[in-house]
Amino acid sequence: MHPDIWRAFQRLRTLRSEAPPLVPREHVEDPPASLQQERLWYLDQASPGGSAYHLPVAFRLSGPLDWRALRLSLEALEHRHESLRTTFESSRGKVVQRVRPPGAFVLPTISLRDEAQRPEQQEARLREALHREAWRPFDLQRGALFRATLFVLGARESVLLLNFHHIIYDGWSQDVLFRDLSELYTLFHEGGRSRLTELDVRCTDHALWQHKWLQGSARAELQAYWREHLKERLQGPRLASRARAGNVATQGPRELGRLPITFSPELSNAIVRFTREAGVTVYMVLLAAFHVLLHRHSGGQEQHFVCSPIANRPQVETERLIGYFVNLLVLPADLRGDPSFQQLLEQVRGVVAGALAHQDLPVQLLEGVDLGGEPLSQALFAFENTPRYPLQLTQLDITPVELEGGTCDFDLFLALHEEQGVISGTLKFSRQRFDADEAGRLLRDFEALLGQAVSAPGQALSAFLPDVVVPRAPPSPRPVTPEPARAPSVGPLVTSTEVLAAMGTARPEQRRALMRDYLRSTIIRVALRGQTPDVPFQSLQELALDSLRLIELTGRIRTELSIDMPVSHFFEATSVEGLADELLTRWLRTQVSEARAAPTGVRRELLTL
């Protein structure tokens, strides 16, 4: 590996050495959600009941299934991992975790046995049942966010569906799940008890730790890095011709399509050999090739960014937890001047090394970074090379069942992994943006350009995929250059402290005006980064804010005013005035309940409203 990568490790080590210790706690009142969970919670609030964050997995179990052992294993699993018993709610403007005490686990078991049916009829019924259960909405507040269902097909044949909401589960969790479940099943099947060693920490401990750590100087240090490295206005790759709306909340659900890919052993070997000679990792070569693919398929767009999930399990104790820890890294690429693949690769190495070192900042804490009103998740890339732990249940043959359907919050997600020297994976795509043929073309082109890249890395990018002729995508709804004309802000902006101080003694009409001023100035301060738009805005939709800004804005208002207004109300409000009035009503309600709780007469005057 190149010295840059080692230096990145050292830097990450230095940054993390300043972190407080991760301490297990017995009981914490209202433990906060982690910053990653908070982001998902807001996204869920923005489009409740969506299935973009479902992570279902299904297996066909052939052989003598021990139903009792399976149920007990799932119960023990839920006891062991607090996250599987956790729900989320808003309390005084903050997202908190609620952990219910462990109880009996119900394993719904649905019989699809019918001797009169032909096998293909049964398969059709199974597919339908799986589909229904896999995409049945989760309720983050009421739960449960972990569900298991067993579909019985015959005496020795059934299908187990495990379903998680992303807010309590991630890719890494799958390994933990399979390990724990495999071990538990064996134990219960043999009539034993769980012998798994106790977990040292829980997800709530980690969330507390994260809030504590990212309050201090570490946050500023990480923010400074990202501000410097993402200082150019960023654009997502524009692959399809259809212009995208900037605001994720205004988009309908996007249907998810999937295509598998497996590289030939020759290509896999060639890539691995090449990485050793070039002093880079496999991840970097695949990412560089992905950049080229996007570049060629966007009609030569020269600057774009790709997001990449990173496991983010900073302490060894968190490695054994089921939970949602993933951070998204924003990885820009600059393809101006027709560089060679080798040059691009060097650039990618620098970008990735820096991102690795500064990976601990959750995306919504990026400050001073202009994502041009773009959702982060247009193009995602993931690669892992740690072997995946297989689910193993005693005496049963287990084969994964591919699930169909579902929705996604991205346009394109290329997820690859390497095992035993072979690179394979899945291209997931939004069916609103690509059809299966287009997605298949992308994968074929990706393979072809990788073959070319590792055999002739000195070639300029213009020599790659010469057959791809894509007209340049039309400009984005918010033009990138020149900067949209925005006058500098004028006049003092009203802060929450000022508003709340003045509210107490203000007359009802003044309160409305105060709240409107507060809302407008908060929108300008938070969502528009202090730039007053040249045309007055009437509603949030007009501003076409990206999801991160919306999350930040609604989060800020909810926290500053200590109110629990559903995030969807922010999106649905048709005017700033209407929204301000609703905020006022809710704020007054909290004051009233506070006054009631405080009989000494704090803010008693509010009760007369």
């Binding site: 490790f9 050495s17 496999v282 991840y283 690795l356 740690t386 072997p387 035993q420």
Partner: protein
């Protein structure tokens, strides 16, 4: 190789590290055939984030401190290198404790 350092023999240190790598990084390749001086990095056993998992493991398992300048290729190149580094740190820890 049978010297005892901080209540571990060097052999025990070597065994613990190898078991960990087998279990966490190689568990699917039944016969890894990984020699003591094979390059873990060139063989792709440990990639960028794997180093961190390994460092965390060494710190917790052996109660040693790994500082940023320790995270260099020389210390993580092979099983042998990791063992030598760990034994070295264990000695250092022992030295500090007897002060």
């Amino acid at each position: 190789m049978n010297q005892t350092v901080a209540s571990y023999t060097e052999e025990q240190v070597a065994r613990i590290i190898r078991d960990h790598i087998d279990q966490e990084f190689l568990f699917r390749s039944k016969d890894s055939g990984l020699a003591d001086d094979d390059s873990l990095i060139a063989r792709g056993v440990i990639d960028s984030m794997g180093i961190f998992r390994l460092v965390n493991f060494l710190e917790q398992r052996f109660e040693i401190a790994v500082s940023p300048p320790d995270i260099v290729m020389e210390n993580f190149r092979s099983l042998q290198a990791i063992r030598a580094f760990t034994v070295n740190r264990l000695r250092g820890r022992d030295g500090q404790e007897s002060d």
